[in-house]
Symmetry: D2
Subunit: 302 residues, 4 copies
């Protein structure tokens, strides 16, 4: 299950499709094995980068079941939805097939602090008070900005809140503020795992975050980085990170990051096709050339 | 089926719930009978005011089936969704139970004209080119502003586009521009039905709109108004409308309109409970007093 | 000066221009006399409907001086600006020529409750703690939604806050909440004047608002309405309001309301030209015909 | 003057203040000398990172005059404003003191393609058809997304459009599309200079952009990078860039980037104080430690 002690790398799993748009279960197994081989500690499926809205309910449940059985690690499922009926239905069904928890982002219609807090209260009531959940704090995608005090209110109101997926930008000081809330006792401990495509990951870990919750196509870097920071090998950690930064930054471009990520995952043999289910983004030949150039430089430097 | 000749009043149907949140099928039948008794020509279910996101897929399909069988009129189903998988799945299932077409609003992530046009191309591919659809042009809810030329591109690209639900504000000149497109041959004919809670309905009809697509709790006014305008009884039309305007304006308040509407529908005997499925808005005692006051004045003046 | 006892009608003054775009001072005088003749109690200049951003600093100050000298009533000046330098500079200069206070709307970049509260703290520091100011609470134009508790924090933090210009929609219950804050002693008294083009004015007054802060082209209706409500002549108040509602609603359309308002003000002889300084909206012949129709009906019913 | 052949590095100049908030002219001179010493080819003042909205009109003009006289290079002045009156007034006054052109971002209220095109038409009329201007295409700050075809329409409509400041993200393919427009003759040549804090600069230059328009606190890197790419020394270019990327990425964080930049500029002796005029962002001690760490690593690797 997802607990407040979640740490390490909860990989944001891509959803592999065949070229004609079917979920590619063989590739899904291969991808999970690839992630496992690099030392991940958990999996998040059906996030933004998992093409969640393109899957039907039945496909979402089937995919979760497959990942749960293959990974034998906590699996967190993105269940954000415009209404609580589908959120509750999906939560029930994925928990039934063994998910460890769910992740909920606020809808863009929320405006005031109270509205956000109230939304999570309704969501928790809808999914059930016993289902561990993560707050997805990703204002650039959701349009909803949560002050640290708002996160604290949600955490304090709901014992089932186990994790904050942190991806506000700038957000380093927000990690520090949340850790200070835990230190001064005004907020109970929850896990803080960081997204943002990993672009600030070493600093976030040094600020006290518990790990990564992103899907960079070289997960071994994420895993090693977390370990190096935990072992206080700061120079080695940053040397490692800096070698990857040019490609990681390229992969993190909003609106085309998934195409880059799937291209690399395919190139590395983790999935059979980099197809996105429609509507997807296609890489131009110029982009592909840039990715190849960056990979060449990365591998030369490794 | 929904056709380009849709006219009259396509009522935006409320979804009746029992006090404990179940879909109230007996009330649904009663409500449809109420609408039919007042002369509607079509029904739109699962719009914003139908609490669509609070229903599961199965409930949505069951509700559509019930309305189709009861109303024996064209039934348009709101199928807007964050992804095409659920949009396509819902469309298929509601068309299978006899829906006459679907209504699609653009997601708030769309920015440029081309992105909007492209979105509808993808949507049409997802739902099937043979399914009649309405464009929901409601920028204050969707955040997406469609220039008349964008609507024209969508209409021209897709023969299955049968209707524009017009509810931009201000939008009277937009009706005129769209009608001029039809007159000058640059856009084929589609039906224009108007929403906006009906607050500009007489003018919209005088500008050439084909009817109403809203859910005011006195549907007889909408029906009579359309008929009076079509019969060129302008003074009688406006006299009728103006008597209703204070209440209609009150019902049209974003964020609480549905609570007002269900309160009146219950008061008029059309539904058993004015409960909204959670999360809903509750009327304060001050609001209820205001509604009662406005109803008293309306009925005195009728 | 603007005080916490402001009541009655603080008219949102239009800014008259000649057809070639110069500020028309003769018309400005005539317009102020027109407003005075109808019994207003204050004037707000350089609001959204005063075309504020189209005036230079020097023109803004000159216009304020003229209105102050002519009206001999409290004059509130809209000083919202993307930066505090111009806000402070304009405030200083308009206060020097006799303005009674300023009105400040929050910029759309603000997201969390704390950011809004902090913005007003910075604004007050910029304009000076001795300058009476009104909070403009107009989320549909500003994009910033202020919970009642946020307004309370601003009011409590700043003794110079004298007024809330209320124009959230729906907002009737917000008036009640703010009045309850005053009643229970958790917020000191400030004046609440209501905008929203007046479309909910009778109800807002009945909820405890102190008056109107809008610019409907028939200010005599606003003045009479406030007086009738204060005298508990409820039926007469609503009868009066309902006669005006069709036109008032037409004038309130976002994006074209000012063109309607100036057209009527010119028609009534209050200004020489209905020109807006560029970029402005022009009425189509269809819109003009609709306004004339509504005026004819209004005057027939009066 | 700003021309369509602008290339190299048009530095986005910071505005130095003393600790008590006055414009620090001595530091401004020193800063300009610092930039000149590193080989810039132009200067942009009063951009977002120049704290433009915090300066009064008079300060803006004085600052421009000082930079023009000191730099003896084309100086582009940000004149974006909520209204055309202040935009026109500022443009006139800065052109009078020798500015080479102005930069205009669209206001967040614009929605459709036509509205954006129309806005620039009005802006050009306001500032005068003889004033060279740059389109600032920065959707993450402005909220306005301009399709390449919209930029083309603006460029074709207005001979005085000399430059596009490109900072959409992802935007590499947009550079390619714009260059293809120039190649196929459907759009005349304009200069494309890139912002985005430089985070994609090598790729943007390889896609055909003419240079940089950003303000990284190590301008020598920007200048050398442009030169290396132009000389086809691709490996050296990327080696240089990659060494700076960790710090450049840190400086580019929205909401705190300016604080980082000024901190480094002060540390490098280019300005006397890193104070921002109120309201500004202060670096926490944790952030300062991170910056120092990144600088140490950068300088070790240089």
């Amino acid at each position: 299950m997802l607990t407040i002690d979640a740490s390490g790398v909860y990989i944001i799993a891509a959803t592999p499709f065949t070229d004609d748009g079917a979920v590619d279960t063989a590739s899904l197994d291969r991808l999970i094995d690839f992630y496992l081989g690099h030392g991940i500690t958990g999996v998040t499926v059906l996030g933004i980068m998992g093409e969640a809205p393109k899957l039907t309910h039945a496909e979402s449940v089937a995919l979760t079941r497959e990942v749960v059985q293959r990974a034998k690690l906590p699996v967190v499922v993105g269940v954000s939805a415009p209404g609580f009926a589908s959120m509750a239905a999906l939560t029930k069904d994925v928990m039934d097939v063994g998910a460890g928890g769910v992740m909920i982002a606020p809808p863009f219609t929320l405006k005031t602090d109270d509205q956000i807090v109230n939304y999570y209260a309704n969501a928790v009531e809808a999914i059930g008070r016993d289902v561990p959940f993560a707050i997805q704090d990703y204002p650039y995608a959701s349009g909803v900005f949560m002050a640290p005090s708002v996160i604290r209110r949600i955490v304090q109101d709901h014992p089932s809140c186990a994790m904050v997926k942190h991806e506000e930008w700038p957000g380093l000081d927000k990690v520090t503020v949340l850790k200070n809330f835990m230190a001064d006792g005004s907020m109970r401990r929850v896990s803080i795992l960081c997204g943002n495509g990993g672009i600030f990951l070493p600093h976030e870990l040094e600020r006290g975050a518990d790990g990564a919750n992103t899907g960079y196509a070289y997960p071994e870097m994420l895993v090693q980085l977390v370990n190096l920071i935990k072992s206080d090998e700061r120079t080695a950690a940053h040397d490692l990170f800096d070698r990857h930064l040019p490609l990681l930054r390229y992969e993190q471009q909003p609106g085309m990051g998934l195409a880059v990520r799937k291209y690399i995952l395919k190139r590395r043999g983790a999935i059979a096709s980099d197809a996105q289910r429609k509507p997807g983004t296609k890489l131009t030949k110029e982009s592909i050339a840039e990715i190849e150039f960056l990979i060449t430089r990365l591998e030369r430097n490794t």
